[in-house]
C-alpha cells in the first residue's frame, strides 16, 4: 500500500474533473485520479452543443435560459442554481473559446449557435438558437480542449486509477474529508490519497440500463462510494431517456439532428410530434418526446416488423448540411446500421442517457450530509452531482454547461478550502474496506457470474424502470434487484491476477450499479406522481402539493448489519417562477 498526500484530489478527468483541475492546480497541489485516460472520458461522446445565451445569432438572454431550464426540469429545479448556470454560461463558453475550442463560426466570425430541445425565446414563444457547437462533436472538442489546457498547466494525472472508497474522519463529532482509496489497474496495488479537499467528478451511472447511450465505464463509482459512507443521494428516480438512440444499440443521435430540421415519423410517415407538442414539435423536451415515441409504438404506429421503433428522418436536408453539421452521427448510421441517411430514415428508440440525480451539493459544489449541512472538504461536480440545475428533466446542452460552470466552481472552492484547512487524520487502516473487497472477490469460489447478474439487472431496469412506470413494475424491480444483490454476494471472477485485472474491476463496478439501481427503484416507487423524466402511469399528473420536493435517500444499517434505504425529502428553491403546467 502506498500513501500520497495532496491538497486537492479530483476523482475523474471528464469535463467536470478537468475544468476543476485547471482551477485547482493553479491554487493548490492537485492530483487527478481517473480510471480512464482523460481523453477517453464520456464527455467526448457529447455531440450537440453547450447552451449559453450569447445572442450571437438572434435575441436571447440568460433570464429566458433560466426559465427554460426551470420549466424543462418540471419545476423541480433549484432556481437559484439555474440562474447561476444560465448567467455563468456566457463566460463558460467564452472561457473555452479562449482556451482554444474550435467552435463553428457565423459569417461574422463569432461563435455560431443552433436550436435545441426546450430552449425558447421569451418563455416558450418559439425555439431559439442558443446551443454553441462544434459540428456534432462538441463534447469531443470540450474534452480535448480541457485536456490540452491541463497539459499546458501541468496538471498531475494518475491514469487508470480506480477510486473505490472515500475516507471521512470524525473530528469533534463532525464528519470531515480525509482522502480516497484507489486501485491501480496496471499493478493491482492499492493507494491511499490523503487530501484536504476531494472533488468527485466521476460521471454518470447509465450502465444499469441495457439500451443506453452511456459508455461501459459509466457505473456510478463515485455515487456508490459516497453512498456506502452514509452520504445521501438526491433525486435518483429521475433518469433521462433520450428520444433518439440507434434502435436496439442505444448509440446516441444528437438532438442537434432535429435542431437542424430532422423530423420524427411513425410507420405512416406522420410527423407525430405535431400532436403532442404543437409549438416546439420535434424539439419539445426529451421526456415529452420519449413518451410520445412510446405512445406511438404502443398504439401500433411503430415501424418495422415488430413495430418497436420510429424513424428519424433527415432525408429532406441537403447532404451538404448533413456533412457540415452532423458528420459523426450520419457516419454512425452508415457504420452500425448500413443505412444512408441522405436517402433513408434512421430507426431509433429512446435510450437511457442521463442521471439527473446524484450526490447532493450546494451551488459551491460542496457535498451535503443532509438537507443543509455540508461535509467540510468534500465537493462534487458534473453528472455525479445533483445541484439541482436539472430537476426532473435536463435540457439538452445544459450538461456540457453544468460540467463547465460547476466544475470551475468546485475547483476554485476546493482549492480555496485546501489553502486554509489542515489535513484531517486518516482513519485507522484506511484501505481496509477496499483491501477486503478486492481480496474477497479475487479469492471467492462462488458460482455466480458477473455477466449474468449484470444482464438480469439491465433487463429488469429496461423493463420496469423505464419511460413508463407503475407501482407494479417498480415493485418488481425492487424485488428483483434485492435478489440480485444476494446473488452478487456469491460472485467470483476468473482472473485472479494483479496486472490489468479488468475482470475484477467489472465485478466491483457491477456492485456499484446494483446499489444505485436499488436506490433508483426505491425512490421511484415512493414518488407517486409524474414529473419530468419520472412518469407513473398510475399517477399521471404532477402533484405539487405532495411532491414538489427533492428525494433524499439514505443508506441505513441496523445493529445486525442489515441494510435498508430511508427516504426523506428536501424543499425546492423557488425564486422567480411559480410552477405552471408544462406545455411545448
Amino acid at each position: 500500500m502506498k500513501i500520497h498526500k495532496y491538497d486537492t484530489v479530483i476523482v475523474g478527468a471528464g469535463g467536470a474533473g478537468m475544468r476543476a483541475a485547471i482551477e485547482s492546480t493553479k491554487r493548490s497541489r492537485t492530483a487527478v485520479l481517473t480510471k480512464l485516460y482523460p481523453t477517453r472520458s464520456h464527455t467526448g461522446a457529447a455531440q450537440g452543443g453547450m447552451a449559453a445565451a450569447l445572442a450571437n445569432v438572434e435575441e436571447d438572454n440568460w433570464e429566458w435560459h433560466t426559465f427554460d431550464t426551470v420549466k424543462g426540469g418540471d419545476y423541480l429545479v433549484d432556481q437559484d442554481a439555474a440562474e447561476i448556470l444560465a448567467k455563468e454560461a456566457i463566460d463558460a463558453v467564452l472561457d473555452l473559446e479562449k482556451m482554444g475550442l474550435p467552435f463553428n463560426r457565423t459569417p461574422g466570425g463569432t461563435i455560431d449557435q443552433r436550436r435545441f430541445g426546450g430552449h425558447s425565446r421569451n418563455h416558450g414563444e418559439a425555439p431559439v438558437r442558443r446551443s454553441c457547437y462544434a459540428a456534432d462533436r462538441t463534447g469531443h472538442m470540450i474534452l480535448q480542449t480541457l485536456y490540452q489546457n491541463c497539459v499546458k498547466e501541468g496538471v498531475e494525472f494518475y491514469n487508470e486509477f480506480y477510486v473505490l472508497d472515500l475516507l471521512l474522519s470524525e473530528v469533534d463529532g463532525v464528519k470531515r474529508t480525509a482522502g480516497v482509496v484507489a486501485y491501480d489497474l496496471a499493478t493491482g496495488e492499492i493507494h491511499v490519497f490523503q487530501a484536504k479537499a476531494v472533488i468527485f467528478a466521476s460521471g454518470g451511472n447509465g450502465k444499469f440500463y441495457k439500451v443506453s447511450s452511456n459508455a461501459h465505464t459509466l457505473t456510478g463509482d463515485g455515487q456508490a462510494a459516497a453512498w456506502r459512507r452514509g452520504l445521501p443521494l438526491e433525486d435518483m428516480e429521475f433518469f433521462q431517456f433520450h428520444p433518439t438512440g440507434i434502435w436496439r444499440m442505444g448509440i446516441l443521435l444528437t438532438e442537434g439532428a432535429r435542431g437542424e430540421g430532422g423530423i420524427l415519423r411513425n410507420k405512416d410517415g406522420e410527423r407525430f410530434m405535431e400532436k403532442y407538442a404543437p409549438v416546439m414539435k420535434d424539439l419539445a423536451s426529451r421526456d415529452v418526446v420519449s413518451r410520445s415515441i412510446y405512445t406511438e409504438i404502443r398504439e401500433g404506429r411503430g415501424c418495422g416488423p415488430e413495430g418497436d421503433h420510429v424513424f428519424l428522418d433527415l432525408t429532406h436536408l441537403p447532404p451538404e448540411q448533413l456533412d457540415a453539421k452532423l458528420p459523426d452521427i450520419t457516419e454512425f448510421a452508415r457504420t452500425y446500421l448500413g443505412i444512408e441517411p441522405y436517402t433513408d430514415p434512421i430507426p431509433i428508440q429512446p435510450t437511457a442517457h442521463y442521471a439527473m440525480g446524484g450526490i447532493p451539493t450546494n451551488v459551491q459544489g460542496e457535498v451535503l450530509l443532509d438537507n443543509t449541512t455540508v461535509v467540510p472538504g468534500l465537493y462534487a461536480a458534473g453528472e455525479v452531482a445533483c445541484v439541482s440545475v436539472h430537476g426532473a428533466n435536463r435540457l439538452g446542452t445544459n450538461s456540457l454547461l453544468d460540467i463547465n460552470v460547476f466544475g470551475k466552481r468546485a475547483g476554485i472552492a476546493a482549492a480555496e478550502y485546501a489553502a486554509t484547512a489542515d489535513y484531517v487524520e486518516l482513519p485507522e487502516d484506511p484501505a481496509s474496506l477496499v483491501v477486503e473487497q478486492v481480496e474477497r472477490l479475487r479469492s471467492s469460489t462462488g458460482t455466480e457470474r458477473v455477466t449474468e447478474i449484470r444482464k438480469a439487472l439491465q433487463d429488469t431496469m429496461d423493463k420496469n424502470v423505464m419511460v413508463f412506470r407503475t407501482e407494479q413494475t417498480l415493485k418488481e424491480a425492487v424485488d428483483e434487484i434485492a435478489a440480485l444483490r444476494k446473488r452478487y454476494k456469491n460472485v467470483s471472477v476468473q482472473d485472479k491476477g494483479k496486472r490489468f485485472n479488468t475482470d475484477l474491476l467489472e465485478a466491483i463496478e457491477l456492485g456499484n450499479l446494483l446499489e444505485l439501481a436499488e436506490v433508483t427503484a426505491v425512490s421511484a416507487l415512493a414518488r407517486k406522481e409524474s414529473r419530468g423524466g419520472h412518469y407513473r402511469e398510475d399517477y399521471p399528473d404532477r402533484d405539487d402539493v405532495n411532491f414538489m420536493r427533492h428525494t433524499m435517500a439514505y443508506r441505513e444499517v441496523d445493529a445486525d448489519g442489515n441494510e435498508s434505504i430511508r427516504l426523506d425529502y428536501k424543499p425546492v428553491v423557488q425564486t422567480r417562477y411559480q410552477p405552471m403546467e408544462r406545455k411545448y
Binding site: P102, V151, Y294, D328, K463, M466
Partner: protein, 255 residues
Amino acid sequence: MTTTLDKTEGLGPAVAGAAPYITATFRIRRFNPEVAEEAAWEDFEIEIDPKERVLDALHKIKWEMDGTLTFRRSCAHGICGSDAMRINGRNRLACKTLIKDINPEKPITVEAIKGLTVLKDLVVDMEPFFQAYRDVMPFLVTTGNEPTRERLQSAEDRERFDDTTKCILCAACTSSCPVFWNDGQYFGPAAIVNAHRFIFDSRDEAGEQRLEILNDRDGVWRCRTTFNCTDACPRGIEVTKAIQEVKRALITRRF
C-alpha cells in the same frame, strides 16, 4: 406489464427477422507475464450475429468463456479511442469494425497494436504515445490582452484545421507506421496531426515553435509517406496530407 419495452433486448440484428448467427473463430494474441513469458495465439469459437462489432465478440469471449482476456474499451462507438488493435493485420477500432466486414469465414486475428510495449493481451503502454503528443505543445498559445468576447475566426479559417480536430488519440496511425516501429523516438503521425491542429489555427501564435520541434531529427522529415496512417485512421483524418502540410510549412514558413 404495461409497456412495450420488452422488445429491446440484446444488441440484436439491425434488421429484424431470424437472427442470422454464424460461428466465427477469433484468434487472439495472448500475453500475460504473470503466467507466461512468451506471447501465444489462442483460438475462441463463438456464435455471433455478424452485424455485431468485434468489441461485442471480445466481450462475449471475456464474459462467457475467459474472464482473463484483457483489453481497453469504453464508449463502444468509436469516439473515445480506447480500443485500437490489429484486426486481421490492420489497425482498427474494435468497436467500429463489424464482424461481417472482416471475412468471418476465416479465423479473425486480433492482436495488440505494434510499436508500443504490450503489457497484457491487447493492452499496450500508451505513455510514450502521449508523451510525443505532449511534446508538440498541443494547446492554444496567444499573446497580449484577451478580448472581452470570443476571438473572431472566419468560417474559412476554421475550416483550415477542421480535419485534424477530429483526432481521438487512439494511436491507430502511429502504431501502423513502419518508421515508428523501427524507431520509437519518431514523434509519429498522431503528434504531428495534433501539431497541425494548432499550427493552422488562425488564433494561435506558436506555430514557429511547433515547427521547430517538428524540424527535429525525430520530426516530420522521418515520414516516408507510406499512407499506412491515413488508411488506419478510424476518424477518416487525412493524416498524410496533414503531415505534408506541416512539411510544406517548414519549407515555406507560411501557414
